[in-house]
């Protein structure tokens, strides 16, 4: 299989315009004759479903939560980037494009990134029109703040709840269509398989999480906006329910999975406090605008932070990266935090933490300014840790946050299965090996509001669709597959809980495929994961039955997929003999400890194909060409 990215020839500035013109259209009167399935109701899914509904398609939208408004996009705090240049500080579409390609350490597809930057300005317009209450100046204009990896202020925000407000905008647009009858909403319904008929994605198999009913749904195209897979690590900033099941099962039906090892470790999270810990809480990157990160100069300095004099503190980011300082990109900030902790200079009881100190900012700007900018984040920190960040510095440590990898898609966001489109975090396309802060919201909404409505239309207009229903052998086979797995999980009745396996898997992944990786560790991890997976299928205990709410059963299916995906992540990390962005292989670093890329051999996206249980996956390579932003050693010094 050769991977055709479908990027149009010609100048990058015209690529999307040209593509849009070349895409075929569906007659308005014909749109309602076509059913489209959207799985997921986060920023990408909800915006896609709402927009496709507005256009007149017959849309069915699925989410596993009790309401589409719960999707985890809601938890994004800091903001959304757009190249509006409202601050007159030198921003432009080209600069946002440049920053994103460079921030992604030259492992993203240039044309996709350019389009993202181009569309960013329309997203802000659309969201404001929907009533998203972005922060404003007294004169009524929108205000901005800066974020890591950029030297301009292009981030729009709504206090520390930007994701919530953007998602509610998309959710409200979705509910408007639900009321208008163009979108049928299926909450508490989880996709468990993809139905592929005659080589095309034609439907899904779902399990209803209240009644346990397993059903088939059919459509002319299937759009997955089901988010990332950070929960492979058990402890992450993702919601507890976030999972990879939809994309993983689509992968097993033939969709290639690209760059699975590209995961993002967010530098500012509240450190782990005990074994019972169920998730990690993010503190928005925006805090790095005013907070200064430091550790004691001396190893094992146990004095309280306020008693450590200025001269005995090491503001290591400001020292090492004078031009970006505390605003270096996430991968760089995380790696440096790990390095100082590994040296024995970490703070807090576990020694796995660094200070994020606001005392200078409070002295300079006054407490009320800090309160207005970050009040809700400070409150959240205090609720969790019982410490007052206005008085003592916050303690933070990196945590798994986002996954840049995902199903491979072409420029039109179509996977390698015709009719299967993948949007938002679930695809691999725009962030390369490291995502810049405030770019995830931008990508989700760009895909959903502004790209998928065009590209799905082209697919619908270019294909004929035979009528299919549940009696089709492929549908029956997928149904049987799901039933069999459900029965199997319920029948093992072993000795260990699902969570205990998940925790153990997470620890393997964090230790060997986390912030830094090496060949030996990755090989070891692959062996351990296989062993643990084997035990899982012999010894897991899933109580209850399949005909009512059974949260253990829901988790069990998702964890089964995490085992397989975790192994693929390690295989991918092992195969990529270079360091880039969030993928840091200890063997490949510059003399001063920065990531050392190998453009000669690894300037490609690795797209993996599933070859059945027990067989090693195939790898297909999409070469990445850079005509505009020339790959260089990324420097933030």
């Amino acid at each position: 299989m050769t991977l055709d990215s479908k990027v149009p020839s010609g100048p990058i500035e015209k690529a999307w315009e040209k593509t849009r013109f070349d895409l075929k259209l569906v007659n308005p009167a014909n749109k309602r004759k076509h059913t489209l399935i959207v799985v997921g109701s986060g920023l990408a899914g909800a915006s896609a479903a709402a927009t496709l509904g507005e256009l007149g398609y017959n849309v069915k939208c699925f989410c596993f939560q009790d309401s589409p408004r719960r999707a985890h996009s809601i938890a994004a705090q800091g903001g959304i980037n757009a190249a509006k240049n409202y601050q007159n500080d030198g921003d432009s579409v080209y600069r946002l494009f440049y920053d994103t390609v460079k921030g992604g350490d030259f492992r993203a597809r240039e044309a996709n990134v350019y389009r993202l930057a181009e569309i960013s300005v329309h997203i802000i317009d659309q969201c404001v029109a929907q009533g998203v209450p972005f922060a404003r100046e007294y004169g009524g204009a929108l205000t901005n703040r800066s974020f890591g990896g950029a030297q301009v202020s292009r981030t729009f925000y709504a206090r520390g709840q930007t994701g919530q407000q953007l998602l509610l905008g998309a959710y409200q647009a979705l509910e408007r269509q639900a009321r208008a009858g163009t979108v049928a909403m299926y909450p508490r319904t989880e996709m468990l398989d993809l139905i592929v008929i005659d080589g095309k994605a034609r439907g899904i198999v779902t399990r209803h999480l209240v009644t346990g009913e397993i059903q088939t749904h059919f459509a002319d195209a299937v759009i997955l906006g089901t988010g990332g897979y950070g929960n492979v690590y058990y402890l992450s900033t993702n919601a507890k329910g976030s999972n990879a099941t939809a994309i993983w099962r689509a992968h097993k039906r033939g969709a290639l999975f690209a760059n699975p090892c590209f995961t993002q470790i967010h530098p500012t999270c509240i450190p782990v406090s005990g074994d019972y810990q169920s998730k990690l809480t993010l503190m928005s990157e925006s805090l790095r605008n005013d907070g200064r990160i430091w550790v004691p100069l001396k190893k094992g300095d146990k004095r309280p932070p306020n008693e450590i004099p200025e001269a005995e503190r090491d503001y290591y980011l400001e020292r090492r990266y004078p031009s970006f300082g505390n605003l270096v990109p996430r991968d760089v900030a995380s790696r440096n935090a790990k390095a100082v902790c590994d040296e024995g200079r970490g703070v807090g009881e576990t020694g796995l933490g660094v200070y994020l100190d606001f005392s200078d900012a409070i002295a300079r700007l006054g407490r009320h300014v800090i309160e207005e900018r970050y009040g809700n984040l400070f409150d959240m920190y205090q609720r969790i840790t019982d410490e007052d960040p206005y008085q003592v510095p916050m303690r933070i440590y990196p945590a798994i946050h986002y996954t840049m990898g995902g199903l491979w898609v072409d420029y039109q966001l179509q996977s390698t299965i015709p009719g299967l489109f993948v949007i938002g975090e679930a695809n691999f396309s725009d962030h390369g090996a490291n995502r810049l802060g405030a770019s995830a919201l931008m990508q989700g909404l760009s895909d959903g509001y502004f790209i998928i409505p065009y590209t799905v239309g082209d697919y619908i207009a270019s294909n004929k669709f035979a009528k299919v229903d549940a009696s089709h052998p492929e549908a029956q086979a997928a149904l049987a597959c799901v039933r069999q797995m459900t029965e199997k999980l319920l029948s093992i009745r072993g000795k260990r809980t699902v969570d205990s396996f998940h925790r153990e898997l997470g620890k393997i992944m964090w230790d060997y495929c986390g912030m830094s990786r090496n060949a030996e560790g990755l090989k070891k991890a692959i062996g351990e994961i296989r062993q643990l997976r084997e035990e899982y299928w012999q010894n897991v205990n899933v109580p209850g039955s399949d005909d009512d709410i059974n949260q253990s059963l829901e988790k069990a299916g998702r964890v089964a997929d995490f085992f397989e995906l975790g192994e693929l992540m390690c295989i991918d990390a092992l195969e990529r003999n270079e360091s880039c962005g969030g993928h840091f292989r200890e063997e490949y670093q510059t003399p001063d400890g920065e990531a050392q890329r190998d453009d000669e051999h690894y300037s490609y996206a690795a797209a993996w194909g599933y070859r059945g249980p027990g067989n090693p996956p195939d790898v297909y390579k999409e070469p990445l060409e850079f005509h505009y932003v020339h790959p260089s050693q990324r420097s933030y010094k």
């Binding site: 915006s47 709402a50 507005e54 939560q65 009790d66 309401s67 408004r69 719960r70 999707a71 985890h72 809601i74 938890a75 317009d125 659309q126 404001v128 029109a129 009533g131 209450p133 972005f134 404003r136 100046e137 007294y138 009524g140 204009a141 929108l142 709840q161 994701g163 919530q164 409200q172 509910e175 408007r176 639900a178 009321r179 909403m185 909450p187 319904t189 209803h208 209240v210 009644t211 059903q215 919601a239 507890k240 329910g241 005990g274 019972y276 810990q277 169920s278 809480t281 959240m380 609720r383 969790i384 019982d386 509001y449 809980t497 969570d499 205990n541 109580p543 209850g544 009512d548 253990s552």
Partner: protein, 266 residues
């Protein structure tokens, strides 16, 4: 520390249900209420019993999934805190915590601590939006919005739709929830255009769902994890009365609440 969790266990709406007491030996004061339930559920599973079903997702207090009564108070004793962020240090060694689900006619019971809150989605679907399709928007700075107005809108828009306001209200009213969306949108110039229609439609759907009437008691704002102010209800009432007096629009239509979960496939 040691605690006793007295939890409402009920398999489904046909089951009778009862409180069951679970003594907890090793509660770490730093863990959250939900992590405490995780620990209990691990033990129950190991013992071969069914774990307690409870709603949760983000565990950062923003998705609105979680919520139950603790000793009669929605989301427990800490103000402006959801149960996922309520740490056990707020309780004393030896305390008994009584956990039960939201109880309201418009929130049909599902299992243990879970209820059906789809009524909220239907209220939003009735008019909780600005009718602007994708592609229709002017430049974001074309209409200035004063900072005070944007802040007011944001205060109301912070609602997470958890349902605590309904559970706390002696009338099981949804006025704070509905008012929050009305207030968020109708103060903004973008949302003012259809403020009348919105207030009429959302109130009509709220009534159709079987929520009680608001009698200005204020329990709702007291338990609200986002401290949505009571003024949003006044705003909703004002918009509603003004719209009713104008009688410019057709009477608002409603949709019939659906309580079962039978999935339609076609």
């Amino acid at each position: 520390m040691k605690l006793t969790l007295k939890i409402w266990r009920q398999k489904n709406s046909n089951d009778k249900g009862a409180f069951v007491s679970y003594p907890m030996g090793n509660v770490n004061p730093d863990m959250s209420m939900l992590e405490c339930l995780d620990v209990l559920n691990e033990t129950l599973t190991e013992r071969g019993e069914e774990p307690v079903a409870f709603e949760h997702d983000c565990r950062e207090g923003i998705c609105g999934s979680c919520g139950f009564m603790i000793n009669g108070v929605a989301h427990g004793p800490e103000r402006a805190t959801t149960v996922c962020q309520l740490t056990m240090r707020h309780f004393k060694d030896g305390d008994e915590l009584v956990l039960e689900p939201w109880r309201a006619h418009a929130f049909p019971f599902l299992k243990d601590l879970c209820v059906d809150r789809r009524a909220f989605d239907r209220i939003i679907a009735a008019g909780g939006y600005v009718s602007v399709s994708t592609g229709n928007a002017p430049d974001a700075n074309a209409i200035p919005v004063g900072k005070d107005i944007a802040d007011q809108a944001m205060d109301a828009a912070a609602c997470i739709g958890c349902g605590a306001c309904v559970a706390a209200c002696p009338n099981a009213a949804a006025a704070l929830f509905t008012g929050a969306k009305v207030a968020h949108l109708s103060v903004l110039p973008q949302g003012k255009v259809e403020a009348d229609r919105r207030a009429l439609a959302m109130v009509a759907q709220m009534n159709e769902e079987g929520f009680g009437n608001c009698t200005n008691i204020g329990e709702c704002t007291g338990v609200c994890p986002k401290s949505i102010p009571l003024q949003v209800i006044a705003r909703m009432n004002r918009d509603f009365f003004r719209a009713s007096l104008k009688r410019r629009d057709e009477p608002a239509t409603t949709i019939t609440p659906v309580y079962d979960w039978k999935v339609k496939t076609q």
